[in-house]
């Protein structure tokens, strides 16, 4: 049996980061369809200033160089704020800008007329299709051109002369969840140009799947979003909200709550200072040796592992991690470097070669099981010098564990057919009892999963009655968390 020994060498600490440039790998997903899936790595931000030509709408706004500089400075300020929020993983922004003519005067139209003026701009830039399709194609070309992991576009609409600085339907800044673009106005309604930075930061959160949390937002607390399908727990109306100063609450707030962090992909379940998406043990294969003159050689394959996106049943997901080194040794020998077949270890999957010379030791009976391997990836952490096999993420606390929706209304036609106990650690057990202490439900997470679903059916297969039920969550380390969940039929 081959011994796969994963000692993950890396140097992640505050202020020390690994390269994160265009290392995005997708398993089972179309990489080009995900232009801003989690906020780790390098992001190309193309700022486009639409300039009306007067061909269709009267030209009422004209950008000046000074005001474009002001807007860009504010955009950089908002993006720079994000780069300082996560000490675990690298984040940088590549910022470029263009001024592009359009026959429309966007500020005089309702926001949904972006369906007219954005395609006109994209056509000028050489991209056709709907506003989403054309912009996504443009963003993907920008990702390639600037060698970045992600990208999005900020359209900044001039509103200097407009009477209220807003679109005709009252909107002044908005973004699409997961990209590929946001739209800003120069005046930013009540925020003004001098506060554009905080508006950009808020909208950039949406670009990476963070949900609105302000009262009246269209994303109530049981909505889920992002790589981990995180609930909007810090919504103003959420019973578990705990951070009124979060950027996603709107206003002039420069804070960041834990649910937003998780929605944008910043989660470190096992508190090892690595974000879970990049904290996956690599895997290896090693073929049986081939004898050659002077020794024997092995061919092998090392791959980073991918955390499934939103619990994807097929295991599909995305990662920025890459194999950066593969080492080997004979039992208790010294570690030596293998050779990448393509010359460089810089991809998510690498083929490698090992050659053991005849002078090394007696090799007549050497087989693959006698070779220890250790793989270094660009993100994972060092776990020591002994040959151990590291496992995937394991949460050490149940701080964020909770059921949603709560109360659960199975007959409300709101779309929820189960209560989801989320943010568990793999192996956690969920028990549910009536108020009299009678057991109703008992289930553990599936291997590697972070959730347990309860369809409000008891162990006898009957629908439970409306009422309050107690739950008890116990993880593999013995940590416990209890609470109440209500069922309303």
């Amino acid at each position: 049996m081959i011994r796969h020994c994963f000692i993950i060498l890396a140097v992640l600490s505050l202020g020390t980061f690994q390269t994160a440039t265009a290392g995005l790998t997708a398993l089972g997903l179309d990489k080009d369809a995900f232009t801003s899936d989690f906020m780790i790595g390098n992001v190309v931000v193309t700022v486009i200033f639409p300039e009306s030509s007067g061909a269709t709408d009267p030209n009422s706004e004209t950008w000046s160089g000074e005001r474009k500089t002001q807007a860009l400075s504010q955009i950089l300020s908002g993006l720079d704020w994000w780069t300082k929020q996560n000490p675990r993983s690298p984040l940088s922004f590549t910022v470029v800008s263009e001024t592009v003519a359009t026959p429309y005067e966007p500020i005089t139209r309702p926001y949904y007329d972006e369906a007219l003026w954005i395609p006109s701009i994209m056509t000028t830039l050489g991209y056709t299709g709907t506003r989403f399709a054309s912009t996504r194609k443009f963003v993907n070309d920008q990702r390639t051109k600037y060698k970045t992991d992600w990208g999005f576009v900020i359209f900044v609409v001039d509103s200097l002369n407009d009477s209220n600085g807003k679109f005709a339907d009252g909107l002044f800044a908005y973004a699409y969840l997961g990209g590929p673009f946001m739209v800003m106005t120069y005046d930013n309604n009540g925020y003004g140009i001098s506060n554009m930075g905080v508006v950009v930061a808020h909208e950039a959160g949406h670009i990476f799947h963070a949900l609105d949390q302000y009262a009246g937002a269209s994303s109530p607390n049981d909505y889920t979003s992002g790589y981990f399908s995180t609930i909007n727990g810090n919504h103003a109306y959420s019973s578990i909200a705990n951070d009124p100063n979060s950027i996603m609450r709107g206003g002039l707030r420069w804070g960041l709550d834990n649910w937003t962090k998780q929605a944008i992909g910043w989660r470190d379940a096992d508190n090892n200072n690595l974000d879970d998406i990049m904290d996956q043990s690599p895997s290896t294969k090693l073929n049986q040796p081939l004898a050659q003159s002077g020794g024997i050689s092995f061919a092998g394959e090392a791959s980073v592992s991918i955390l499934p996106r939103q619990g994807n049943a097929q295991g599909y997901g995305l990662t920025l991690d890459t194999v950066s080194k593969v080492e080997y040794r004979m039992t208790n020998g010294s570690w030596a470097s293998s050779t990448a077949t393509d010359g460089t270890f810089d991809s998510a999957k690498e083929n490698f070669n090992i050659t053991i010379s005849a002078a090394n030791q007696s090799i007549q009976n050497v087989s693959a099981k006698d070779v220890e391997l250790r793989v270094t990836t660009s993100f994972a952490s060092k776990s020591g010098d002994t040959a151990t096999s590291s496992s995937g993420s394991s949460r050490t606390t149940l701080d964020l564990a909770h059921p949603f929706p709560n109360p659960f209304k199975p007959n409300s036609n709101l779309g929820h057919t189960t209560v989801t106990f989320t943010d568990l650690s793999p192996g956690s057990k969920v028990q549910i009892f009536t108020v009299n202490g009678e057991p109703v439900f008992n289930k553990e997470t599936a291997p590697g999963a972070f959730t347990v679903l309860w369809d409000a059916i008891n162990d006898d297969g009957k629908a439970v009655a409306s009422g309050v039920y107690y739950y008890l969550i116990t993880d593999t380390a013995g940590h416990k968390k209890d609470g109440k969940v209500a069922v309303i039929r």
Binding site: G15, N42, L76, V95, A173, G190
Partner: protein, 360 residues
Amino acid sequence: MESEFFQCYERVMQKNHLKNWAWIVAFLFVGGLKPLFAANPAFLIYNEGIDITKEADHLENSGARIRQRIPPQILVVDLPDSIKPNKISGTKSVYTTAIPLSTLDSLGTVALAAGMQWNRGMIRSTKASGQAMGAMRVLVAQRSLPAPASIALSSPENGLIEAQWEAVDSALYYDVEAAIDSNFNQKIASTRTNLLRVVIPSFEGSGNKTIFVRVRGADSIEAGDGTREDVLGAWSRATSLEIAGSAANASLSSPVLTSPFPNYISEGFTLILEWIAGTTAQSRLQVSRTSIFSETIFDTVVSGGEFVLPSPGLRVGDSLYWRVKSWGASNSAWSDVRSFRIGAPQNSLKDMFVNPEAPQ
């Protein structure tokens, strides 16, 4: 005492050598500063033709943290102690302090904006005392906000002065002062605008006088704790014009304030002041931080009965007072005084949509 803040690495831009040393001396004069940066931020300008993506990769592999890449030549990085910024190969200039924005003009609009943002960050990150901070802000502002080149004055009618000037890069708004002496000891009006033209009142009284006017650009920066602070540029040279005053006339009717109602709290910075004009077509509007109008923010002459309050420079929580009088060759008594407060912006509108073409 020299600190990291004063380390200004200029290896190629020798022509600016003297200017930069003047800056260093000026900062040293401020004195009392301590090391400012936990992560040693640096603003790097690479030589033309260098691939900054590759350079960023090299730096990241050496433990640097890249914050911004501004193609084709700029990186904003946090450097570990092991990397000395003046030892980074391929760089044209390295800044660990403020940047003369003129340096960035040739590199494009985004580069210029990055320089502005960097300068703000330098101010924001400082641990200097309040007094030293104030002096430093002025120094940085003078560097990044030069004085308007020239002021054009005219008097469209008696009692009014119209001033126009060229834009100053990175100025969010402008302060305008008028006085009857060239040293501006005897001010007759002081106002703020986010435009490049303003009409301000002449002196109150009869006859003609020579009025001096000066303008400076201003910016508003985040102070790092959620508050904002003004960065004030250098004053322009005073320009003068002999004009008539506005004589008091008790028989003229005063304007009547209509909106907003007294003690109104706004939602954000969009605020329109409205009144029913008095006898004259023009009205003089004053907005002040004090009820006795000793600290005037806006003092301007407008036509009609409406004034859109410029948002730059205002802050959430500001309590302001306003009043209006008829104004022209003669002027009325002041209207009543009303107050209002700038409240926090409310993000009550939908600002997030699901992309109907997004992958699921």
